[in-house]
């Protein structure tokens, strides 16, 4: 058995964007799929507005589907090639609202306008759209029922540079207008920095650092966060660079040693790291899972 995600805890406040970052295989997509109940977590609890949803059966889950939505990573694969844009956007309304067909149609057009797509695209099929348009259709579908919470699983990573910045602005705009909460999952730290107010960093299935975005980028406390930040190429040849790096590559989650999961790769590792560090609050709202965090902060 692989523990893809191990004892991960976080909360998202109304209207907030929480960034979830980490490299491939760290379990961030698994977390996303559990939140929208595409996967059933083995243990633990997921509470939405105070109600437990981790254990609800599909029928009882239906009202929550309206409030919790997801935008998927691959804008092409997440659209059904045989359904028109209209039927995909309209579907959520049909399933969750009692709108008359005419009201539904009006709402679909309003949604298209909101995500910046023309009405003329409604009767097109996914293969007739560009990559950027496809991702907008995905976003329109996700916000159709006026959800409160949207999980964004790498929504910008498949987009080209110029489209990416527009998608980022669109998401930010929608959040402000509708008071949405986002869980923004990405490996692109620059985008997370732009969108998120708080950031959780995952490594091998666990959160290693959770902090206010500004603090995290100004001074990463966990060695993994620090290495991740140091590795991001910066479009400024004169930028001061931190040359902190970890040894080797991410091990397979099947054979992790006991103790701190970063131990084998961390240049700062000490004997104490043989014991698994808990995620503890080192400053108000700032959590780090590292025995050496207080030293690093100094």
């Amino acid at each position: 058995m692989v523990r893809a995600v191990d004892s991960v805890s976080f909360d998202v406040a109304p209207g907030e964007t929480l960034g979830l970052v980490g490299e491939s295989g760290c379990g961030k997509s698994t977390v996303a799929r559990c939140l929208v109940r595409l996967l059933d977590p083995t243990g633990g609890s997921i509470r939405y507005a105070g109600k437990e949803i981790a254990t609800l059966d599909p029928h009882a889950l239906k009202p929550f589907r309206r409030d919790i939505q997801m935008v998927f990573q691959d804008p092409t694969a997440s659209l059904n090639p045989r359904l028109s844009v209209r039927s995909m956007v309209e579907e959520a309304l049909m399933l969750h609202t009692k709108y008359a067909p005419k009201e539904r149609r009006a709402r679909v057009e309003e949604l298209m306008h909101e995500v910046g797509l023309g009405r003329d695209l409604l009767d097109r099929y996914p293969h007739e759209l560009s990559g950027g348009q496809r991702q907008r259709v995905n976003i329109a579908r996700a916000i159709a029922t006026n959800p409160r919470f949207v999980v964004l699983d790498e929504p910008t990573s498949a987009l080209d540079v110029s489209l990416r910045s527009r998608a980022i602005l669109l998401l930010e705009n929608l959040r402000e207008h509708h008071g949405l909460s986002y869980l923004f999952i990405s490996h692109d730290l620059a985008t997370v920095k732009y969108l998120a107010s708080r950031v959780a960093v995952m490594y091998l299935g666990s959160i290693v650092e959770l902090s206010d975005t500004r603090d995290l980028f100004a001074k990463p406390l966990h060695p993994y966060t620090r290495a991740l930040l140091a590795a991001v190429p910066v479009p400024d040849p004169d930028a001061k660079r931190d040359d902190f790096a970890l040894a080797g590559e991410i091990p397979s989650p099947i054979d992790v040693a006991p103790g701190c999961r970063l131990r084998g790769r961390c240049p700062l590792a000490k004997p104490v790291c043989a014991e698994r560090p808990p995620l503890k609050e080192v400053a108000p709202g700032r959590f780090v899972a590292c025995h050496l965090a207080s030293e690093l902060d100094a």
Binding site: R33, V36, L38, P58, K62, R65, R66, Q69, M70, F72, Q73, D74, A77, S78, L79, N80, P81, R82, L83, S84, R86, S87, E90, E91, A92, M94, L95, H96, Y125, P126, H127, N138, R141
Partner: protein, 291 residues
């Protein structure tokens, strides 16, 4: 949203049609099928004589201007009989295919999507059914049900259900993992909508290819059943029946009575196979090329 189901499968068909036009052999074969079907539909207008009109003065005539494909021992015109026979042959072949596609496709979709113990049991049953010679099975079923036209169609469709079931199930196993299936679940679709509206239409292209090839095979199976006396019964005009009647006359030199019904069977089956092959070639690299 039944209309979107309709629209989307019709776009797939338009696409197939456009590509089929670029493949001359398959296109010609399609024209042959359309020609035979048209002749069958308008048989009373097209056929020079009634199929059962006997004429004692013109028995066993070899092909001539009056009877282009000759006549049989009762003086019935062979051409007219072959044209009328096309009605039975095509209707049974299409009906058998339609029944088999519907049942096999739906069952396969449900089993592939659910992947439960029912799927395990059903697939072993399918394996057993497929290991049994299809023709012998059809013979057994018609023998058991009695040989009306409807029963022949049912017998043939039962032999073909496993192929569609397995095909759709395989596609479904793949499609249920697609990101758009996840998207459909997240939006809150009930399972039946995910299977019927979201995933099944995506199984259609390979199903259509299989159905085209199988229609030819259904036709062949029926003619064979009739040939050995288990299918359609004389005096009704049916190609297999006619070929069986003609076969006994070969020794006495009336070759046309066997040759022309046989040719009708061969040409129709070949036409279905060529169209099916053409469709398969077009769809093989999936329809990605046009996206």
């Amino acid at each position: 949203m039944s209309e979107s189901l309709f629209v989307s499968s019709s776009t797939a068909l338009t696409l197939m049609w456009q590509r089929l036009k670029q493949n001359p052999l398959s296109f010609a074969a399609l024209c042959v099928i359309v020609l035979i079907a048209t002749a069958a539909i308008f048989a009373p207008l097209v056929a020079p004589y009634a199929p059962d009109a006997t004429d004692a003065t013109a028995a066993l005539e070899s092909p001539s201007w009056r009877h282009p494909l000759g006549t049989d021992e009762y003086g019935r015109d062979q051409l007219s009989r072959i044209i009328f026979a096309a009605r039975v042959d095509l209707v049974v072949a299409f009906a058998a295919t339609l029944i088999a596609v519907t049942i096999g496709g739906l069952l396969g979709a449900i089993l592939g999507y659910s992947r439960g113990w029912a799927d395990m049991v059903a697939m072993r049953a399918v394996d057993a059914l497929m290991a049994f010679p299809a023709f012998v099975l059809a013979m057994g079923i018609t023998a058991g049900l009695g040989n009306s036209t409807t029963n022949v169609a049912i017998a043939i469709s039962i032999t073909q259900i496993p192929a569609y079931l397995r095909l759709t199930r395989g596609e479904m196993l793949r499609l249920r993992e697609m990101e758009y299936a996840d998207a459909a679940r997240t939006v809150g679709n009930p399972t039946w909508r995910i299977v019927l509206i979201h995933l099944l239409p995506n199984c259609l292209p390979p199903l259509i290819v299989q159905a085209t090839l199988a229609t030819g095979f259904a036709l062949l199976t029926m003619a064979s059943l009739s040939f050995i006396g288990l299918g359609i019964q004389p005096p009704q005009s049916e190609w297999g029946v006619m070929a069986a009647e003609g076969a006994s006359q070969i020794v006495t030199g009336e070759w046309w009575l066997f040759l022309f019904p046989g040719l009708a069977i061969m040409i129709s089956v070949l036409a279905f196979n060529l169209v099916g092959d053409g469709l398969r070639d077009l769809l093989d690299p999936r329809m990605r090329g046009v996206r």
